[in-house]
Symmetry: D2
Subunit: 486 residues, 4 copies
């Protein structure tokens, strides 16, 4: 049972200069598992060569203790990808490891390139061959083709050509490079543990190895880590910073600092603002766990309505997809969430969630709460209505599948069968993240900071391993998710 | 990384009269996974014979979709066991399925028999052979040896001989039996979905299949389920009800009704009482997730101190045991729990946990909270000091390993390095569960409702597959956990 | 693709007094793999207790290198079982390891008990519970119930009650026992390597560990191996020796000495006698590999007709059962055997096989040889027509499925579409094994040396995990294979 | 235990125009398993796109029944690679599937390119990236970079640049291409089954799907298979045919026709010639199974000395590498081969093998035969002394490891401790394959038909995943095996 959520697409982690670098990467990826459950991989130094071990599933199921020990150090990078069905996608798992005239290069990429198709076409026309449907492979081709003398310059030259979102870690036999696109769409932090340098999508992955968070890689920055120390370059033309606001709303772990700001703090304010904007007379505030917890606490604190846990989440996941059959009546969302009847019975309940995508799960939750005795159900969403697909590294449905893209709030309320429905407005959202105008809010505003070549999206499917399944009349301009499968 | 907790030992589930009985059992066990993660098993009807499919690990990893479909119905029972290392214990997985002169009988057992060793000795002396180190196997031998005419009488006769805790589901080719020991130590509930009868350790397992909770199997009751309907017997002499209070404190899911009472309600009151008994001037109340959440909410509500989430739990688990090596500094508890620095920094924190066993984890948590910036850490435990091992179905350490068995509260506080430490007293505990004197509180009071033959405990090890590892001078009278490995 | 052959049911191996006893057992079982491919198991000493590791499939796939190293020594026994589909039979895998009032006992059994059902019934009536459908479990119950003082006497007492075929290895924490039934149906040999004593179904398993074959366990002998040395008992009443002649015809490896006689020698003489009895004017003699090779060589040597390899066998086996689908034309036996066209083209071919069971595979082979160009195909079988099922440890079809039980040789020849067909007669067979009257030939003569209780066979199915599939009108007197699944 | 043999490196198979094409490829690869046991792969059409499923190990262990059914048809190609330890080489498994400006192309390659390193360097210098250490990847880069209009011309253009051995099958979404290098080093045959066209390394793989062998792809020929029928091109300049003679001596299955000639026939003549050249007075001729069987039969037929089986081979293989430990005495070759004592005892034995590589295994075999009682051991080798490494697709040791490259025959005889030693001379070898001068005999004559750029071999290691292990002073001119890993 997958809940109806946007899904992040990747987490990256690198460790440089530690005798157990591979194990550190393993732990870091374990802490970043929420960013991708489909596949995982680690590239590590071994006998003078980089080696790659990738697999499908959760990071704890891919590696065995003795393998990690054998993988050793001193340098390693890793990657987790989002979860889908199908086991045959190992070819898309990262890090990608290649040989080139510059030697071995491994790449772990979080983000999405909007001009990957055009670049891929150009590269193919120039004789390049592609072995995955990943946009990240484009970057390696561009680096290999660069005539620049140093690998730094080659990476820069390559990245000057790509548009979109990229937080990258490269590993070569002697150096590690951490790069963020000039817009800074996706997060990337640097940490330290003794002489070991670490790079991670979120600071929670630094915590797990007891490393200290030093700072973030800045938008447009390239940090070069070698035995000689660290070096920082700013090779890209300056541009407006547009960091993904949804990292604060939903994706990142609340114990992380993302874009230099505490996620838990942002979520608390999201909840508080929501309470101010959409007050309601109720007996309790409950979150949809786990992502709604911090906003619900904020809502409760601001409104003075008691915070309660009214829904319990079952965290056990495995390789079997548990599905109801006809003869077992529709229990849908119950496999993952169960209401706490005693808490809810006879009560007027405010339920706080971080987003509504298609609305199907939300509707089941409202129904389940009512069946458990809730007298009133007031639905509160800690962000504005989601009306646009993401092109910068988030797995989102087609725009026409986003309920808010074509329905009024009152229509959605009716669909959910909620007593009231309130979305946070954009001002509240901006307040929550510090009121600085450095965020991408395209999924709420359709204000896309980086253009994407619309006429070509129709052909993205050609590179995907899975046939596209959208309905015939669908407007392909809004369906770029296939190329985003890194 | 195992947190330092008592562990429940089993969950049981049965479905009678459904074309997808095996799938229902699978779902029920999935909801009961918190009661045991070591192994799982389902016995189901197939072609006129009962068949058993058992495996190590989580229930979602043992079965594949097409197997569940093939297993079908109409009757099935299942079992989950607690988690240990070691893969070779499949022989101890349940349900146990045997052939006897009464035909096939399958048994799923939650609980522990205190006289299993004596009975096993007697049975062995009489020629019985044992194929596991489980005390549950004793019950099946007694049933097979009974001269009683009906299987009901045989079960009764057998259970009259055993002492201790047992919530049992038996399955024969045509009937299902649900039985609870006269003391009612462990829970067992009955549910209904159309014509299907369900039996489950907790009501949350009824919820997941959309079944309705009808009532509990009463202490000392045997419910016989067949195509002819249900029948209730009370075959045992009446005795004092002594239900396990720790089910409400820690084991059961908060969305369950256990012993007829809402677990979430009990925990809320535990927290409220704790706040009354051990008030403190602080900035926030935080739970140790997940088990401490409901008591922490109660504490916050009663005290008026804001509730916050100050620790994040990583729920991903897998077959690899993630262990720090020397060169990665001791991050211990961090693999599972990470503090939310922004929430904690500069704050006076009340941290609510459900119990302190050895104290080692609690000490690490206090240290971690301080390192994350907490100015004061006030530790509150939502039950009295745990001073006695359990002999009735809970995996507990030797008594001498329970920190509270040999240390004063002030000594424990010092060991934890907490600013203050408060345990709920026994009166508060009783209030939380409804102030009825029908609970076993032996782990807090050493008031054991069923005697256990002390002189024999030393030989329990003979039946365990693993060599005992306790120190030489250890008093074996208090170390009965080996035979409790069902 | 299973060829249409009788199948042996087990191989057993034991090693006493070696620091790598478990690894030796692994190697011994690897050499005995032809005796059973369904499952394998090893029971070994570990930390003062016997432990069991069993699995489905080939012995090389069950154990990993580091596990064998960890299993160590000094004593271990093992077992391989025959191959069926279905993965759920792990419960029937051996060795069986039990606890009893005599302590731990492990048993590995090759053979079949004809009165297992009656004994099982009696034991069940007396309160015994059975956890497998194996007849071997009966033996352990009888031992446990014996009042004899010593375990030797208990084993003897138990084995006095069973009828049929048993070559057994028992392991207790301090001793190993090797026993053969008084008739000596199945083989069992003793070997030595330094101070290590080994017991094996065939001498080829002694060769693989560089051990020396000392002698066979005699029919009716019990050899007791302990740190104090070996001891031999003859506890059973003397009876006629009736060793399984089919071990020499087909089952055993040709490099083994079985019943003290070289299998390769027996097969060579089988072929020579066959050539004398059924001479033919032909261009070449070819075997059906691998089992027909030695008899074909003998046939060629005696007849002077050149020996050739006209059929190639593909030895790769795996977990996938390769089956033709409708649209790929019926290639049946070709997956395993392929004709060598150049050898066969235009030639008159004598093809030598060790047996014809149902005749279906033989018919396909004749057809395949003709399609490959053979001008004439003369089928020679190195034993008499198989007319009876085996009740002593061989997996055979129902009697009515044996083509020779109901068809004349001329009818069989026609069915096979062979130019001629010749079976060895019983005198030739006896010559091949040394002309001593100490063999069981029941499958050729219906002369069963141990009676089996016919009226009870109908109920054998009750103990089998798989529902019986024979047609309704089938005469159950001849279908005892279910209880023979050890 | 690996026997000391040259190893073939690949088998390829393609099926075009069959609803179960993937299953046919599976069966074909099963028949070609002897050509490579390390990994296997199938690329098949699925929903308009080519998809790849590859794995480590034997073909029967990689695919499950239901997967093959799902993979369907109508077109598919497959590949098996040779066996090494290590599980991480999945990246080198074939077929390689790429996207390019020409669309999807899959490639299965048997052979070795001697100028792969130079081409790879050039390609890398031109910006290509490599994702494996396989020389085959070079071909796909060259095709993708070709400016030729048609894919046929692009393939031709690419293959004009490579030197060495290649038998190739390409699959595109609508066509299949079978190509053999102008020298015709490695075999490639075409078969037919109804309207389905098949391409296979050996004809035995056509037999298993009941297809008819039509003819071989000629040296230098490209066969284009499409729904419109087959088309043949001869795009390469004519050159001398130099087919690998070792396919007849050892690699191919005896039931195959290779280079249009029966392998079994060649081997029979090899044995006959060997008997003529090196007659001996002996009691029996025995083969080293399985590869020596046909030559031994020929030897026996020519010499009149009886043919016997004196060594039994254990065919069970699995994932565990069975290794002796110190305390189990050196049984080396015994895990795979066991002598038949009864056959050998007191006899003068001619043992026929197909080659001696390092001599270590041969020496152990001679010793084993003597220990089993052989009075004299006369070693006969059915080809000339192997003095040169292969550069055209065979895995051979460094030249200095070939015992015959630096030792006289008498020295080798002494090393083996044989009573006599005879190698076939080159004339006898040529007679056996039909006396036509169209074979490569470089490993016997150092007469290499295609030059290889010596000065670059030293750098081959840069592309291998495993660090090279040769001794420091080794002459690298003779150690090209790394690039030969396709």
């Amino acid at each position: 049972m997958k809940l109806d959520k946007f899904r992040d697409e990747c987490g990256v982690f690198g460790a440089f200069g530690h005798p157990e670098a591979a194990r550190m990467v393993f732990l870091g990826l374990y802490a970043l598992q929420h960013r991708g459950q489909e596949s995982g991989g680690i590239v590590h130094m071994n006998g003078g060569r980089l080696k790659s071990v990738r697999g499908m599933g959760h990071i704890v199921d891919i590696y065995r203790e003795h393998e990690l020990t054998a993988m050793g150090g001193p340098n390693a990078i890793g990657h987790v990808r989002y979860s889908t069905a199908g086991e045959s996608h190992i070819g898309n798992a990262q890090p990608i490891l290649i040989d080139s005239h510059r030697g071995q290069i491994a790449l772990a990429h979080n983000g999405n390139l909007v001009n990957a198709l055009q670049l891929r076409r150009d590269l193919e026309r120039d004789g390049a061959i592609f072995q995955s449907s990943s946009d990240s492979e484009v970057i390696l081709h561009l680096i290999a083709r660069s005539r620049a003398e140093s690998i730094e310059d080659a990476i820069t030259e390559a990245l000057m050509q790509v548009k979109g979102a990229f937080s990258l870690i490269f590993l070569t036999p002697d150096k590690m490079y951490a790069v963020r696109d000039p817009h800074g769409f996706r997060p990337l932090s640097i940490g330290q543990l003794g002489h070991t340098v670490l790079v991670a999508s979120e600071t929670c992955a630094l915590d797990i190895v007891d490393a200290q968070w030093l700072r973030d890689v800045a938008p447009g920055e390239m940090v070069i880590i070698s035995n000689a120390g660290e070096q920082s370059l700013m090779p890209f033309p300056e541009t407006k910073t547009t960091q993904c606001i949804f990292e604060h709303v939903y994706f990142s772990r609340p114990d992380s600092y993302v874009f230099g700001r505490s996620v838990s703090l942002s979520r608390n304010i999201l909840g508080r603002e929501l309470a101010r904007e959409h007050p309601v007379d109720a007996d309790m505030v409950i979150p949809i766990p786990d992502s709604g917890v911090f906003a619900a606490i904020g809502f409760a604190q601001e409104s003075g309505i008691p915070f309660e846990f009214g829904l319990i989440r079952n965290h056990y996941v495995g390789r079997t997809f548990i599905e109801p059959k006809q003869s077992i009546r529709n229990f849908g969302v119950r496999v993952k969430l169960n209401p706490v009847r005693d808490v809810l019975e006879g009560k007027r309940v405010v339920v706080v969630d971080d987003s509504i995508v298609r609305g199907t799960t939300s509707r089941k939750i409202v129904r389940m709460l009512r069946m458990a005795g809730a007298k009133e159900v007031h639905f509160r969403v800690s962000c504005p209505p989601t009306i646009g697909s993401c092109y910068y590294g988030i797995d989102t449905p087609y725009r026409h599948d986003l309920i808010a893209s074509s329905h009024s709030i009152e229509e959605i309320r009716k669909y959910l069968d909620a007593d009231s429905l309130g979305y946070l407005n954009i001002d509240g959202l901006m307040k929550a993240v510090g009121n600085e105008p450095k965020f991408c809010t395209a999924c709420y505003t359709l204000n896309y900071p980086v253009e994407f070549p619309q006429e070509q999206l129709a052909q993205l499917r050609l590179f995907a391993e899975e046939p596209a399944l959208e309905p015939a009349g669908h407007r392909l301009v809004e369906t770029p998710q296939l190329v985003r499968r890194e």
